[in-house]
Assembly symmetry: C2
Homo-oligomer: 321 residues x 2
């Protein structure tokens, strides 16, 4: 990902140059803090790469890219409150470092700041950009609500799980990419293809997350292996397991949810997953979304020969197992 | 306020016709619930009246009016969480009826829904509308943060208190009115005058709130008389009292903050306020802002002879003492 480090620096520098007032300090310090946390900046980079693919300059597309990144940060601050997460990007979350009220309000301001960036986009494409952005923003909230709803449900079926991850994370990738196409005044067909590319890559990426949690290299992934099983989280692995398990396996999987011995809990659950060949089934579904994404990418009509988007995509999907 | 009942019904009907999906239920039920609560709908009516004043139709200005009203509802839902308020408009607040996470997220969606309405405004004025809206929205959040900060401070001076109420509530009235002028393609001068009219009316109105809390007719105002004193809230009354009190009175006012006997607490504090003629001082400041508002109104250059805005303003300011 050498290509992206340039873009990451560009986005980080633009974020640093945002006009964040000093007062009220309790409102703006959290915003400055959160925006300065290191991140992969995938979403704004997608907007920049897409704009370039369709023939628009980085300079003319940077405000849309920043809108996407700032909106994403708003969702993280509010999600962290709801998930009671202590850490984000290795640092304290806003509600932990300050308090919940400050996290609510600084998140709110960040959302408005995203719209401030949108308003700086070229007026001729502003209505289209804002309509897509609004639709996506609502969907992201719907996905978060579905995710919270799933936490208290015993069973979630594959279709609704995919719908949840699509809304919660994938549509924002699609939106980031389509905004590049809108800025470049590209065709409706290209807008639609690049959007679908993003959404399907996003779904594949999230499924990969589920796989990596249990089958990844803990050291490289940076998380405890089997964390999702420990947290009794519904993932595509657990959903596939339950849908293929016989009565006895279902009973055992449910019993293991209250198993106190963490090593036994992970190993026994994984052993049933292995009997049911859940890993390869999950991998196949991920591959299907990845291939679907690529077919949309190849359907794009553009004279630009840029490989940058595909390179980024492949780099994202080649995480360690 | 006969005039406004027509407008209230219009706004309520438009809100009822908003496309609120059914699922996820935990996200959209609170939104439907909150939007259906009865309210005075002052802000959207200001937009409609201002648009009419400058020669634009209600039909062409309704989306901007709805944006203002929906944004206001978003702020109420989030403010109620922060203030731990059990009731709003006589009904349970969203975080009480559901929970805090649901209140955060449904508030977030409402803010996006406000921008959805904005996006439906005429494209030729959209950049100006959205720029003003964003600026105002950020200011409202700054005002809320200042208000929270003041809660934990012993002393607040008059200028910063006025600045807080200006940001927290008055700029949204100015924004509502200026949006009407923008929609009607009115001049920069008219835009500025109607905005200043709204901001100054808003400040006068908030000061009136402080006065009514202690000197109003409890039955008519619908609140406990002296509630602000009981809650040790900084208001213009308490700020004026502290700034005019001698050392002994300051000491007594501070001691009364921890007085357990509620009747004694209110009466003794009020008695010092009376010695210091705080009521008339406060009333004078309110009148100054009201007169300032009217002078901006009279500076507006418009051929329309509508008295509606002035009538509404006067009705608002003639609450019972």
């Amino acid at each position: 990902m050498n290509l992206s480090s340039e873009y990451i620096n560009f986005i980080q520098e633009e974020l640093r140059q945002l006009d964040i007032p000093e007062s009220p300090d309790n409102l703006y310090s959290p915003i400055g803090y959160f925006l300065s946390l290191k991140g992969k900046k995938i979403r704004p980079i997608l907007t920049l790469l897409s704009a370039e693919l369709f023939g628009e300059t980085i300079e003319n597309s940077k405000h849309a890219a920043l809108a996407i990144e700032i909106f994403h940060n708003f969702t993280l601050i509010h999600d962290d409150i709801m998930d009671e997460a202590p850490l984000r990007r290795g640092q304290q979350t806003v509600h932990e470092k300050w308090n919940t009220n400050i996290a609510i309000l600084s998140g709110d301001v960040l959302m408005i700041k995203a719209y401030e960036q949108l308003a700086l986009c070229p007026p001729d494409v502003l209505p289209e950009l804002i309509t897509l952005f609004n639709k996506t923003a609502v969907e992201v909230c719907e996905g978060q609500q579905m995710d919270m709803d799933f936490e208290t449900r015993d069973e979630v079926v594959q279709e609704e799980y995919i719908q949840m991850i699509k809304l919660k994370t994938s549509v924002l990738l699609g939106c980031a990419l389509e905004m590049g196409a809108i800025l470049a005044h590209s065709s409706q067909k290209n807008r639609s293809e690049i959007y679908q590319f993003g959404v399907n890559i996003g779904i594949a990426f999230q499924i990969q997350d589920d796989l990596l949690d249990l089958y990844g290299d803990g050291a490289k992934v940076g998380k405890q292996v089997g964390g999702d099983i420990l947290a009794n989280k519904n993932t595509l692995l657990s959903i596939l397991a339950l849908s293929h398990a016989n009565d006895e396996q279902v009973k055992e999987l449910k019993r293991l949810k209250s198993e106190k011995d963490t090593v036994l809990k992970i190993n026994s659950t994984k052993s049933i997953f292995n009997e049911l060949e859940v890993k390869s089934k999950c991998h196949q579904i991920m591959q299907d979304y990845y291939q679907k994404a690529l077919s949309h990418f190849h359907a794009i009509q553009s004279e630009n020969k840029t490989q940058a988007l595909l390179d980024l995509t492949q780099a994202l999907m080649k995480r360690d197992f």
